[in-house]
Symmetry: C2
Amino acid sequence: MSQFENVTVLKKANVYFDGGVTSRTVVFADGSKKTLGVMLPGQYRFTTDTIEIMEITAGELLVLLPGETEWKPYRGGMQFEVPANASFEMDVKTITDYVCSFVSASS
Amino acid sequence: MSQFENVTVLKKANVYFDGGVTSRTVVFADGSKKTLGVMLPGQYRFTTDTIEIMEITAGELLVLLPGETEWKPYRGGMQFEVPANASFEMDVKTITDYVCSFVSASS
């Protein structure tokens, strides 16, 4: 799937880490939400509210998932899942394009 | 208007200048196209194919429009128009969030 159809896109960008990570919020007809983002090389720590599924569209990075001690490599075509109310770290090696899906507990 | 509804969003990011400028393409029901972008501080030169209307959502920058010799300041809430088949320069001072509309000659 190369595009999302019949969606609402918020005009305002989400900007984190001085622009090192930026994203746009996309809302689907069922009310679910994804962000389409870009990460520049750098190290970033994020905290989740819901379960997050991070699908890497392009790029290369290392990820330290909650409760793990080993950084694991990810690249375009791969994805990882982060539990709700947890924090995870990313060490982005090349410009990374991603889609993040927010999964509410009830779904 | 804080959001665009009933649109298609391309999943892949547009990346220019090593990620200094990134955007997502949004396609409307009538086939018209906009990009929602973020520019980090830096100097950028772009060339247009169609008329482009650049609406600055947030941020501060200087713009040198084609045929002009004076850089003019723009900030969130302002917009400028660039003719088709022309080039323009931007000197972005703070992280800038924008919506770029591509206006085909027939409209």
